[in-house]
Symmetry: D2
Subunit: 380 residues, 4 copies
Amino acid sequence: MKPLRIGIIGYGFMGRAHSNAYRKVTNFFDLEYHPVLQAACARDEGKVKAFAERWGYASIETDWRKLIARDDIDVIDIAVPNNLHAEMAIAAAKAGKMILCEKPLGFNAKDAEKMTAAVEKAKVANMVWYNYRRCPAVVLAKQLIDEGKLGRIFHYRANFLQDWTISADLPQGGAALWRLDVKAAGSGVTGDLLAHCIDTALWLNGGIKDVNAMTETFIKERKHNLTGKVEKVGIDDACAFLCHFNNGSLGLFESTRYARGHKALYTFEVNGEHASLKWDLHDLHRLQWFDHRDPGIVRGWRSIHVSDGDQPYMKNWWVPGLQIGYEHSFVHQVADFLKGLETGTPARPNFRDGLATDYVVDAILASAKSKKWTKVKQVK
Amino acid sequence: MKPLRIGIIGYGFMGRAHSNAYRKVTNFFDLEYHPVLQAACARDEGKVKAFAERWGYASIETDWRKLIARDDIDVIDIAVPNNLHAEMAIAAAKAGKMILCEKPLGFNAKDAEKMTAAVEKAKVANMVWYNYRRCPAVVLAKQLIDEGKLGRIFHYRANFLQDWTISADLPQGGAALWRLDVKAAGSGVTGDLLAHCIDTALWLNGGIKDVNAMTETFIKERKHNLTGKVEKVGIDDACAFLCHFNNGSLGLFESTRYARGHKALYTFEVNGEHASLKWDLHDLHRLQWFDHRDPGIVRGWRSIHVSDGDQPYMKNWWVPGLQIGYEHSFVHQVADFLKGLETGTPARPNFRDGLATDYVVDAILASAKSKKWTKVKQVK
Amino acid sequence: MKPLRIGIIGYGFMGRAHSNAYRKVTNFFDLEYHPVLQAACARDEGKVKAFAERWGYASIETDWRKLIARDDIDVIDIAVPNNLHAEMAIAAAKAGKMILCEKPLGFNAKDAEKMTAAVEKAKVANMVWYNYRRCPAVVLAKQLIDEGKLGRIFHYRANFLQDWTISADLPQGGAALWRLDVKAAGSGVTGDLLAHCIDTALWLNGGIKDVNAMTETFIKERKHNLTGKVEKVGIDDACAFLCHFNNGSLGLFESTRYARGHKALYTFEVNGEHASLKWDLHDLHRLQWFDHRDPGIVRGWRSIHVSDGDQPYMKNWWVPGLQIGYEHSFVHQVADFLKGLETGTPARPNFRDGLATDYVVDAILASAKSKKWTKVKQVK
Amino acid sequence: MKPLRIGIIGYGFMGRAHSNAYRKVTNFFDLEYHPVLQAACARDEGKVKAFAERWGYASIETDWRKLIARDDIDVIDIAVPNNLHAEMAIAAAKAGKMILCEKPLGFNAKDAEKMTAAVEKAKVANMVWYNYRRCPAVVLAKQLIDEGKLGRIFHYRANFLQDWTISADLPQGGAALWRLDVKAAGSGVTGDLLAHCIDTALWLNGGIKDVNAMTETFIKERKHNLTGKVEKVGIDDACAFLCHFNNGSLGLFESTRYARGHKALYTFEVNGEHASLKWDLHDLHRLQWFDHRDPGIVRGWRSIHVSDGDQPYMKNWWVPGLQIGYEHSFVHQVADFLKGLETGTPARPNFRDGLATDYVVDAILASAKSKKWTKVKQVK
């Protein structure tokens, strides 16, 4: 058993999700490396103290540079707004720390390039928290595609629909609302939600060649929580784009925070020559599967309840029929990261994968501005 | 092309459903016999005239005995309340007419025995309108069971849930409400709704050995539409029963008109050793199918959209993906009846099959009264 | 009762659907005008004879010009490939006939403009067979939107997904396959399937300002049934487009015949400030409805089984819970057309509405070619 | 913060589920009492050592009597086969320990009576692990019923369907298979699965007056893992029963391990005068809700995604739209138990509630044997 000492920056929604994963992973997975909750870091001393106490972090820091400088930390976990990722990650890499960084990797692709260069130069283990890759049903989709069960792919479509910002009274910026502040987030749904859809798509269906996007900001001005003034809204409330994948299939993506009735409906569907599959975050423990090779009279979409021991990750949990939830995707990501250290085959998505997504995000935003088809820069 | 001259008795809900079937069947099916709408019969002259005009019946009668006596009628269609079936059917048989009788066959099994004896003695074609046997998805279920795809059957369960009589203000008896009058209907949900469930069950899973039932009348008194007085309610509002099938499987049936939210939810499910299937009248164009022989990681319930040319009856309709509805089950029943005349292999359920269901209905009502397990009389 | 004498051109899939509607409509709807099946017309005498006999047309023609010239015909029903619509419709208008024309109205918008001018000049009743407007659930959606139940609309998205042309062995052109022949169809999924989606969208959500489209032909060459040679495929197999509606909402549309597992999955979803709704042709008797005004703890998508007497068209059919199917949308369209003659308020979509859809179709095809955002010409 | 020292007996499926709950509860809930994993106990020293190490128990015992005798233990958690519950619980009560006992409470009702008497005499906190009461959707159902939203209840129906014992090759008894050994389990699906259904039903719909049951053992003989011999199977493979609730509603329950296609499908449905609700363990994060008070044209079953902060327990977890799973029901149960200690209002189901369920279980087994309606003994 080897301890792996974690220093986390940020105590918000993601700080909680990561901490829960570190605490649980060795109860359910057999691993050589065991996470140790060494330190939690944030500017607000009272809050970080409470957070550390609740989750069992052994110490706190209020200056992230001090955290990075500590000898007793192996991994820096970056769980803060997007505009802070690059500086922290580059410093951590220089200090020789492994890095687990929240998504999207950079504030933009330029930042992400620097971050990728930094970790590759420093040769430190690195990963981006695109957790949805680790939902068992999504891994099952990957497995079916990789086995060639779908044949030639014709279509890939994905949505990420929410409805929480419809009210014009909601302010922008500050604390839990930093995602609405373009200075902290970089963009709206594109970097926040579509980034998830793109990461999954690149993983399942390969690279994207070019994109053609449209964005919209429905509520043009909102009170800004930090300045207290009504200010122009800089983020995109909605974004949709057409694209071509390198494998010749067509892509169609949409995200919005104005789709009444959908809380966090991330769905994707892949149509192949022989079979198709669909997934939906609101019922994340299921995969929809259609196999044209079934006998004609009994062909139909199967709703697979992904909870059996022979399905991805599930032998580590309960018994067939008993579902796991959102948080488990993070547990799986930590398990795979640790296994990667153990086996020498690093888990992914690494920073270079995160950069690939950021290239697509940048191309989307550029296309929405220029109103033209835009080529996507490819990672090597 | 041979004309088959129909004389229908009754112009209500079923009178319409049958008439529509007679009118459409040869547009969609290639048949030697063609129904001719020769006469409609009912006591109310004005109403039967309007009905005949709307549906294209060539003549009317107000006395059913006259209708039966006519030489230009080949088939008597009995679409009137249950208490009238026996007398009409027996007279029609004696007159040598073919008979299509609404379900349940008799007011009780004793009546049904006489009716069956009458048609068998007269050697006239006979059929009972258990139309749900002709929904394509139900026929597909039958086909899968008969091919042995389910293996040994362990469980059969069926429900028929409605909610239209919950209001205590609803009167009983008269016109469209005769189903609430025990003198016209014989029983409540048992003969009306469970009879459908039982007919399908006997067809799909074979005979029922014994039953153990419970009935309930939630609203004890209602105004009677014919007498104008508040009277004791004689029908059962709800009925549930346990049973053993002759093949060793267990059965569980329930019907009620007090299940808020269900308009006409007839569902059945059959669980076999290797596979299971489910059907639901609210989405009657679909069959749910689970096949344990599918590879473990992609096992799941398939929702089969029964609308392809290789699925029962569907090559006669539109193109794949375009659903048919309730009324088509009657068209199919007429098509099969006509085909039976053509081929010499009579379509079913015939009166003897209807009698089998009435034996189960009688046993259920007896068991509910005696509160004991009750043997079901078997047809030979 | 006034007879309305129909002369139909074409005996294919649509010829059957229309004929069925004419035959049934007065059985279920109370109408002053009654369709009379006067004549069926097609070049192949044997086939049109058989068709006329099956459906009860009183006579046949093999030359459509003769049909149009007949005095005993009130309505010309055009149910032939797209490239023949304009000539027939313009001639029929000149002859003073009412016209019911299959969709899309013209082979292109230019044709449609001429057709619209012709019927408006001749002042003859005219309608386009966009039948999905008449599914009860779609009408219910229209009613909810028009009552303002959704509030400001943010998003409209629609799909029409099929999978029947995936095989490379399928030939193009001729008989039932004319939809695959660009010379007969004008385009592929765009004019065939997206035209339906656009018609519904214009009706529910108003005009479209501009579009940005991508098309694809996956199988580049196919044997042509008419020439017997392998030829370049001219139609689009798939088409997706982004758009802005005049009301400020965003649109996203996609159609393909390469989405394995979907037979004819036409879906649309509308997201408004207060409520959202969804519909799906594979379960056309249901409407999905989310109302944010419901109490927070019990908010959810409702699956409305549109089969009650107070829901559009349904009091004319059976009883609650018993669904109707695809063909009934045509019956409703005929009922509304006849009612329009009776009341003097013509039913729609008329040719001008059909022209509006053709303008969008043309803009889509132009945008796919130019790879640019393209303005949509608006009808006055 | 007050420590509550746990001594757990058993390291199987339930041992893991409870341990996980103890470890997580204070990360997500604000509580005065904090569980401390003090000791794990089981006969197999190697296994209990490994278990203790994995979950962080500070010590181990191999004799449960020693565990109970320890001064540093506050709570005894009984997570062993049913035949061992009574002796352990009575001893623990005598030793003044709080007791959390797995379900069903007793091997039979007689045992359960003694256990209840013991804890009530000793005045120790006590609870039974009927965890499904704590699924947020089930709690929401309880809340809606208690608020009177359903009005008078007419029907309650529940199923617990599994398919894991269909193979005749599966042995009975020993280790993970003790549920198949009548000597360890007492009964088959009745005590294992129906007990869950009954506990929920008593909670939601009040007491059961009488029952009428049927049981079946499909595979009559199996190899016994402990003796190595083929022996008669003593458990029931399937059980269904009719019942009357004290409030006048009818109940229908069924459980089996022979329903191919269902892994652990626990469902219940309650039909009331004004509204109905349904729940299903395979999608435990959803509640189906039908409210007849909705306007007629938009009535339908709502699928409520129970993941909002105003829904039971959910403000303690993630953000709307992100589901929790099976294990969280145990976390909630621990949270409520601890809160009960804090507030002085004990959480339930306590032993007396568990006894009520055992009375129903006993009546079911008696009725299945006698083939008669059987009165259920009521708890005071």
